[in-house]
Amino acid sequence: MTMTPDTTAKATGPSTGTPSGTEIRLDRVTKDYGLAAPAVDDISLTIEPGEFMTLLGPSGSGKTTTLNLIAGFETLTAGSIALNGTDVSDVPPHRRNLGMLFQNYALFPHLTVAQNVAYPLRERKVGKREIARKVAEVLELVQLTGRDDNHPSQLSGGQQQRVALARAIVFEPEALLLDEPLGALDRNLRSALQTEIRRIHREVGSTFVFVTHDQEEAMNLSDRIALFNNGRIEQVGTPQQLYAEPETLFTAKFLGDSNVFELGEAALDANVAWDGESWVIDPATVAAHPGVRASSAVVVRPEDVEVAGGRDDVPAGANAVRATVRDVEYMGSYRTLLLAMGERGLPGRTRVSPLQGEYAIGDDLVAWWRPQAQRIVAA
């Protein structure tokens, strides 16, 4: 990791920063507090050097515990954690050389901004002039030049988190761990700091592990996302993969909105039946999901669902279901129709542009989509 801004990395976007980061390998990691279920249950995950990996999941899913295990704040019940191939499972946190960002900033209130940033360097017995140089450099990187002598209490929340960020990267740690660092900030500041964090990740080229429960934040920042659920990893992949190719119902529901049609114990073939409808399954989908057969669901994103006035307006080869408009949400550039679909009136949604005309509550329509747009997921 280098502190000097790397212009070539900046130009090529995330994940291609200076490839000098550290690989973090979690091998069958388990943390059991002796409660009903382990907090982290047999997780294996490899975070590539220089990668921006987000651990995403609802609260209690084990993502923060996993981060604390990487940091060394929690001890492993089973499994191992290795940094660049070196097992650090039994190394105490202060010798792991990992930077960390906390939700409440955790700045030392008795020290000034400069002293806070200098803290890790002083612990490493860096010379005075070198400390002064590095502190100035990193404060410039987080755009806080000139605030050296302020105390944390004199800064805004966003500024405090920048100081914490400067402090966490100034000693060029193996990787940076971020524990919901934007959770305490308001919406505008969050988005500004997201941009900043992405820029700094590009410039320092270090491995970032980011914990959040906010799926938009995860999609926005990450090279890859590991989606946590009940102490296990549900799916790992790029934001696009997780959104476009969810493997499980949980993934499909957690990332973005979905129309979910549970198929029950249907065997997947070229055709499936749902609520009296007969649908075509794209052969590629069947081939891609050989395991997903017994209990599965069809998932279609709202933007892939079209509406038509009647069956005759649905193109040949498309899957369709009858739907009633329950509500119309005005979203600015588009509208969302909340639908009741099929015999059972299952809740669904679709997006319509103003060009498609007006819809009113109670309108009877046909919702349709192309088989290629639907995903088969394990229910």
Partner: protein, 273 residues
Amino acid sequence: MTTPSTPRRRYTKVDPIPWWLKAFGGLVVVFFILPTLFVIPMSFSDATTFQFPPQGFTWRLYENFFTNPIWLDSLGNSFLVATLTAVLATTVGTAAAVALSRLQGRVAQLVRTLLMVPIVAPAIVVAVAVYIAFLGWQLTGTVLGYVLAHTAIAVPYVLISVTGALGGFDPKLLRAAASLGSSPARAFVRVTMPLISRGILTGAIFAFIVSFDEVVLALFLRSPLFQTMPVQMYNSVTVEIDPTISAASSLMVVAVTIIFLLPQLLRGRVRRR
């Protein structure tokens, strides 16, 4: 914002305190402080026995005090014991407070209560128990004996003040320190200590004063060769009827007051910086 009186205006918005409450408050202050202040004019009295109002003006009692080796030794002994007690009790009490702040549940509560026992137990009971134990260990009349006994009753004060200071301490800071490369011991020195220093200082001052004016334990532990100032004062009244005690008392009042005001003075200096 331009006039310096702006901050004061805030107080005028508070309901005025009624005159009778002010008067009552004044009475309480007088009730508590007056007896202590009586002693100071008496220490300049010319009379050979205790009389009030004092007669004449003389430094004789102070001369007595500072020329009599019995008084001077006892003062030195008291300072020695109180200083060592303050050091030991502050160390033990701070360690206990930090440990208890991390523990939860019944055990921590039990230990906390046990550590408070010396405050609520009648002094004479503690003194007799300590006396019996120390006789067997041959600690009576020794500096170590005084320090250990006084530490036992001083620790709760340190525990209370440091626990109070730790209440405002964010334990996440220790994780931050660890992630930045501090071992637990380093994190304590560089993060915890500076942030709870006021509580530690207050505890140390309390420990010093608890020891400095402690008389019951000291009476039991005294030996002909080693006694503390409160014991010498007690002797001077019950055995010798020596008016030098007025000077001794005045000195103690002044010393203890100065020590108690120390944190305020230090705080004022820090704020001015």
